[in-house]
Structure formats: structure tokens, C-alpha cells
Symmetry: C2
Subunit: 360 residues, 2 copies
Amino acid sequence: MNDQHRYCVIMCGGIGSRFWPYSRTALPKQFIDFMGTGRSLLQMSYDRVLALVPKENVLVMTNAMYVDLVREQLPDIAPEQILAEPARRNTAPCIAWAAWRIGAIDPQASMIVTPSDHLITGERLFVENVRRGFDFVEQNEALLTLGITPTRPETGYGYIQVGDEVAPGLNKVKTFTEKPDLELAKVFVDSGEFFWNAGIFMWSVSSIKNAFRLYAPEISDKFDAASDVMNTPAEREFIEREFPACVSISIDYAVMEKARNVYVETVKFAWSDLGTWGSLYDNSPKNAETNVTQNCNVLSYNSRGNIFAVRGEKLVVVDGLEGYIVADAGDVLLVCPMSREQSIKQMVNDAKIHFGDKYL
Amino acid sequence: MNDQHRYCVIMCGGIGSRFWPYSRTALPKQFIDFMGTGRSLLQMSYDRVLALVPKENVLVMTNAMYVDLVREQLPDIAPEQILAEPARRNTAPCIAWAAWRIGAIDPQASMIVTPSDHLITGERLFVENVRRGFDFVEQNEALLTLGITPTRPETGYGYIQVGDEVAPGLNKVKTFTEKPDLELAKVFVDSGEFFWNAGIFMWSVSSIKNAFRLYAPEISDKFDAASDVMNTPAEREFIEREFPACVSISIDYAVMEKARNVYVETVKFAWSDLGTWGSLYDNSPKNAETNVTQNCNVLSYNSRGNIFAVRGEKLVVVDGLEGYIVADAGDVLLVCPMSREQSIKQMVNDAKIHFGDKYL
């Protein structure tokens, strides 16, 4: 099948509060050059899929408040490729909109749906895996998810248990699991049957529309009723009116865990959801003192295992810190042990209680 | 004697590198609202002496680069009251200039010379002590220094040993000492004979001129030769030419340790030279978690005994810090244990080596 029928949907509406204050409501994680490469996570996501689909076939789903940021960071894409959600309604309504929009452009289309705030390294392997996935979903009425080969008993991810193999590297999904405890995670990894759920999905437009009609008709009914306005100037009015009226639900709950034609492609490219400072630390290059400096100027003394996330040209001078997050975002400074990063959410709440929205 | 003949010389040329990065070459310690009172240390020094001398009789000795800062912070004083040193030459040439200038205005004058970057609390006692000092130096050919009653065996200060009492609270100076080690400092304090050397001096203009002529003639010769230009438009040219040619030496070495008519007034007002982060911490009000917050917004968790010195409206969020300095000056952030503050000088050097003057 020709690449012209292949589309990529980049989901880019998250607010990323776990990286506060480095990531802010006004500049969430996906828009930040988190790896210090000169490209934001969104830009890296975009660069990655250009080997797979024509750039005209990339759609970016985002919140209305981030449209200007997306335009700035992805100047190559046309305004109509940015789909601005008037409200946050989780992934199912977002994906439905993308599917019906693409269906209106090209009923034969297939698509990959990917988050914009994850890290993937090993682009060659990624492209190879996704091409195989496209081939599969174009030839089968299949909802395909990518399962990352686990490299450690991670308790922060959901896992996918594989069932029968239907083709090399392609299996039926037996179960989706919640985040396991450490003991269970070890069992999962040792078994060889469990793979990390990366939240990357592939399907043909017709397959996902059919799945919505079967398992989430309250969503598909809205979009089917508006089929004739999709990809026309009238689409905006429909979205402004009906999108906020959609139930807020993830594609996992709405479709993937209910459907019977769900498959997993087991892949080996390196992936991280960069969901925590700890995972960012693990995935970043370290200096001789095992500190991650995120390209900022650092003078460190008696300090190891820290992550310094500081904007701009700022100089950071530290002495006697081990295993800390030092994150500076201009108007907020955070100094916190990496081991206590789960409390950052509480800190954000406390900041809101004491100072209102000023520092969010 | 009438207050009209009394003058105050505020020395305000220091660069305060020990408080880097909060204090910077461009904004040294004396210009900062260090105690969060709304007044800088310089402004507090000025406010303090207004009870003692007419505001027209205040001279501010500073470096040429800080003249605008002085004008901004002390808008009440006239331009001719700010004496801009074209080069840094320690305290002796600075005090000589002040003495010859004042002598040209009023040969009967007496004067107090005070640093601008120390903290004094208990203004009523200060005024009472200084009035007694003025009376003494106006009636005697005396070089008077103020000796602070020590409250702890501080090793960071020089001490003055008192000799014979000549009047209540006024003694001959027996010796000036260097900074003692802890054991010796304890002996000093227990003896009752040793007082902290605050670097605050009082004398009549004629007494200090005579002392310069006896003990530092290489300085007094220059100023005596220029007596007729002092306090005239030609003074500036003389200073530009001759001040940089003066030897760089402190008033202590040049005069006080050599002269025979040196006296000490033992005083009981609370004083700190605020020479270190530790002394700033000791002298500042603390919150319930024993942190000093310098009026900035702080959310602290599991953190005690820290000092947060952060400019502007910035929010500081810390977890798991004990006894640290967290100092943020916009383009530089320092996080360092208070116990290692003596290494800040080295850090400033390292910053200079790596980044030039950018962060000094």
C-alpha cells in the first residue's frame, strides 16, 4: 500500500504536572527540549514519523491554548493539520475526531496514534516496526497496539500480555494490566509474555470507526451524524458544540479493553514515557559526576546523581547534593530529592492553595 | 559642642563577594535589602546616623561604579556628598580624603567613620554611645574605636583588648588582635577584657590629620599639598590623579596599630558584620521550621535551618534540605551547605575561569 494513505496522529494536549515547575501549564512537557538536543519532545515525535507518512498526513491534536506553541514548533505543517480541542476529554474523543477527519479526507486511510511526550531512541527500528504495523492493519480488521520489550521490572507502566502469535512479532492481546507491584513486575518480565503498554496505536480508519460504533456508540453517533461536515469549514462549529459534550474517557477503557480484534506488535526500540524525573534522569546522558545537566551551565562540588533542569543561560552552582532534582523555571525554583518526586503533585497543590494560579 | 560640627562618613565601596551570587559586583551587599525590611544596609546606616549629625554632614565614600546606586538609594543627599573613589585603595586613603574634605569645610569638625554593610540593632543605645564618643574626641586628641561587647566566642572577628579606663566606658587600647581560634576566643570572652573590633572610628579632623602626618605621611603629604583645592571644583582633578597613586592600606595598619592616642569605647548595642551567610542566618528572623526566608515565597518540606535568599517574587519549593544556603540571583543559582560557605570564594573563581565575567 502506498504511504499516501498513511496518517499520523500526534496527541499533544497534556499538561504534564509531574515535571512542575520545569513543565508548566503554559509550557507542558511535550513542548520542552527535555533532552537538551535542540528539539522538543513534540518536534522529535514529528521528525520521527516523517520517515513513515507524508508531512501533509500528520495531524496534531492539542488543546486550544497550545495551538500557537504547536505552530511555532512545527512551522512546516499547515493550520488545518492542527486540531484544537475546545475541552480536555481524554484520548477516546480525541482519537474519534482524528479518525472521522481522516476518513473524510481518505476513506482508505490507515493511521498511527502516538503521544508527543515520550522518548524513543533507535529511529531505524521504530520505522521498521511501524511499517510492519501499517501493513498488518491495512490487511486486517485489527486494532494494533505496540508492546515495548521490557528491560526492567518497571512498576510505573501498564503491561500487555500476549496471546497467540498471528504473524512474526504480531500476537493477539490476552490482557491489558494495570501498573503492577515490584514482585509482580518481576514475574511479568521473567515470563517473556508481558510487554510495556506505550499508548501507541495503529489501525485503519474503517476499523477504528467500527470499533467506536460497537463499544462507544455515544461517541461515534456524534461523529457519524456529522460525517458530511468533517474536513469542511463547518467542522469547527460542530467540534465547538459537540466535543465538550463527549464523555471523558481513554481509548483503552472505551475500546481497547472491550474489543475482540485487538493485537500487539512486540517491538524492541528503546522507549520511555519520561513520566518522572527519575525516568528522565535514567534516560539522559550524565557527566563525569553522574549528574544530568540538561545543557545548562553547572559547577558542581561533592554532588552526584542529580538532575539539573534550568532554563536559559543560567549558571547553577551546587555543593553537597546527592540524588536531587534542581529545577528552575524563572519564577519557581524546586529543590527536591528524586526519591520524593511523587510528592511534587502535593507541592503544586500547596502552591495553588497559598498563591493561587500564579505559579502553576 | 553643636551637632553642626559633627560629620558622618559612610564607607560604601565594598564588593561583598562572600554573598555571591545574591550579592554581585553590580549590586554589592550594602545595596541589598538583606534583612527584608524594605531598606538596604546602606539605607539603614544612613537612617541610623541622622539622629547624630545633620543630613548635610553625611559623606558617602564609594566606588565610581556605585555612584548611581548611592544616589538612587539616598535621594536626600546632595551630589557633592558622594565621594567617588576612582580606584579601590582600602580604608586609609578613603578616610584621609574624607578628613581633608571635611577639614576644608569645617576645621573644627569631628567625625564618625562607619562601614555601610553591617547590621546594628538597638538604635537608641547606638545614638547614646556615639554621642558620648563625639564628646570624648572633641575634648581629647584621641583616635577612638568602638568595641562591641562580645556575646559569643566568635572566631570571625578581630578583638580589641582594653587597657586603663580613662572615663566611664572609655579605655586606652592595649592591643588589636587578629581573628583568634576558638579556644583563644573563649579565653578572650571569659576575660572581659576583649571586645569585637567593629571598624567604626571617631575622631576630630585635626586629630586624624595629625595621626596621618605621623604614621602615614605618604598619604597626608598628598592631601596637605592639595589643601587649597579640597571642597572646590579642582578637588576632582586632584583625586583622579593622586588617589590611585595612594598606597592601598587599611586604616588599622596605617594608623590605629601605630598611634599611641588610641582609645576604645566599649558599647553594648547589637552588632554583626554580616560577613557570612552563617551570620546573616543567625541575625535574621526564622520561621516555624527554623528557615530564614528573606521575605521570599517558600514552601518547605522536611527542611530546617536553611537560608533562602531569592530575588523578587520567585517561589522556592524545597524538600529535604538542612542547613543549606539557597541563593538565587536570576542568572545564577547557588545551593550549598552553610558549613561550606568558605568555599564560595573558590566557586566565584571557578565561575570566572569557566564563564568569564558573565556571572560575577
